[in-house]
């Protein structure tokens, strides 16, 4: 008997019930958002039987709520749709630029940041950008919801903290305070549509005296999971985020990286480049922060 199935539940409760029932019956489930990773992997790597649970019909996964303290971004919104939202773009230019780096126009009509995170690739471009923006992952569970800081979500290559009966609803991101700017840069050998050799995201808050009072730095594609690099942030806080401070943050990123050698780059190369990317992304984030100081 063929054991492929597809359901597109209309509510979170229904989705959880479907996941629970399938789990109880030992049936494999596959959450489906844009499908740009899921369907490729299904067709090329592992075509075993499963129940596709499409979460795109849910209100919550398509929601964007811009509130005073937090911004909620639904997990399943295609990046092409996110990038048409001028308000989001003004709040988190680095995050939206990271989303815009992934894939062609066609892919961006489907691919979501929720999917990018749940795919849990070491090189997922939006993950470092979510981390530096202190995004909390909001998971639907049988008990209601639970939140996980993005830096704790990915637990290994292609692995994350989601249980079989849970799924990602979206992200709750604190509204950036005045004087905050973010940026994400990656290196690829082509001009677009490639997988990062290394990537770095930086978010800074600069006060009226020109001093960096908050910093977060995250690096991608240089370890089994994207990393939050607190030593790089510490190198920036209390400084004017000048060249010296950025160079120290860059060194901290190079030191924190645990890269591998593969067809995209060597250990030595990735270690060096991730520092350069941190310095350059830090410069963009600093300039954005300075221009956001009201």
């Amino acid at each position: 008997m063929s054991n492929f199935g597809y359901v597109a539940p209309a509510t979170v409760e229904e989705t959880l019930a479907v996941l629970q029932q399938a789990t109880d019956q030992g049936q494999r489930t596959q959450i489906l958002a844009g499908g740009t990773d899921v369907i490729v992997q299904f067709r090329s790597l592992d075509n075993s039987h499963r129940l596709f649970v499409d979460i795109k019909s849910l209100k919550e996964t398509n929601d964007v709520r811009i509130e005073n303290e937090h911004i909620f971004v639904g997990a399943a919104i295609p990046s092409g749709v996110l990038n048409e939202n001028a308000e989001l773009k003004a709040l988190f230019p680095g995050l939206l630029e990271a989303a815009d780096l992934i894939g062609s126009t066609q892919i961006q009509g489907r691919a979501s940041i929720g999917g990018n995170l749940c795919n849990s690739s070491p090189a997922g471009d939006t993950i470092p950008a979510l981390i530096v923006n202190s995004a909390l992952c909001v998971l639907a569970t049988n008990e209601g919801t639970r939140t996980v800081p993005t830096e704790n979500f990915v637990t290994g290559v292609g692995r994350n903290c989601l249980a079989a009966h849970e799924f990602l609803l979206g992200f709750q991101i604190p509204r950036p305070s005045a004087g905050t700017g973010d940026a994400y840069l990656r290196f690829i050998p082509r001009t677009e549509m490639d997988i990062a050799v290394a990537g770095a995201a930086v978010s800074l808050t600069i006060n009226h005296d020109g001093i960096c009072e908050r910093a977060r730095v995250s690096i991608g594609a240089v370890a089994p999971t994207p990393l939050l690099v607190s030593s790089a942030a510490e190198a920036l806080v209390g400084t004017t985020a000048d060249e010296d401070a950025l160079q120290q943050a860059a060194q901290a990123c190079s030191d924190a990286a645990q890269p591998i050698t593969d067809k995209r780059g060597t250990v030595e190369y990735r270690r060096k480049v991730v520092g350069v990317l941190c310095r350059r992304a830090g410069t963009i984030a600093r300039d954005r922060a300075l221009s956001n100081r009201n």
């Binding site: 369907i39 490729v40 126009t105 892919i107 489907r110």
Partner: protein, 160 residues
């Protein structure tokens, strides 16, 4: 497992079909509905030959599951030319510029280029190249295709 009933609209025409959960929208269009204009190139979302509009958004139909088409509006290359006016200006210009050889990539380019011109009738060359970066061509080369789209834009906005 029983087949899944899908009620969709393709090029303005209602279509009621049965599909399997693991079929793609591309399979549905070609094998169940019989619209073979949409081509399969890579099957992994890299080449854009299977490009269609799904509720007015450009997608690779090889990366959409067939049951996802339920309740959606789909436009394929067969829906681009007008029965009254004939070829769309993008199609006409691809012909005039000899911007196709084997033709497998052409339906994807037609759908993608028309979608661009519907959004932005006057795109610059860089915009056109980025927009069409997800459509690969292995024989014509991109220059003639880009010129054809620029020419189509010119015809749509003659003041350019």
């Amino acid at each position: 497992m029983s087949k899944i009933y899908v009620s969709t609209t393709v090029n303005g025409r209602p279509e009621d079909v049965l599909c399997e959960a693991h079929q793609t929208l591309l399979d549905l269009l070609r094998d169940e509905i019989g619209l073979t204009g949409t081509k399969e190139g890579c099957g992994t979302g890299d080449c854009g030959a299977c490009t269609v509009l799904l509720d007015d958004r450009l997608v690779c139909s090889c990366l959409v599951l067939a049951p996802e088409a339920d309740g959606k509006e789909i436009t394929t290359v067969e829906g681009i030319a007008d029965s009254q006016d004939g070829l769309h200006v993008v199609q006409q210009k691809l012909l005039e510029h000899a911007a196709l050889q084997c033709g497998v990539c052409t339906p994807g380019f037609v759908v993608a280029a028309k979608a661009l011109l519907d959004r932005d009738p006057n795109p610059d060359e860089k915009t056109i190249r980025y927009w069409l970066a997800g459509n690969l061509c292995r024989c014509t080369g991109y220059d003639k295709i880009i010129r054809a789209v620029q020419d189509a834009a010119q015809e749509l906005t003659p003041t350019k």
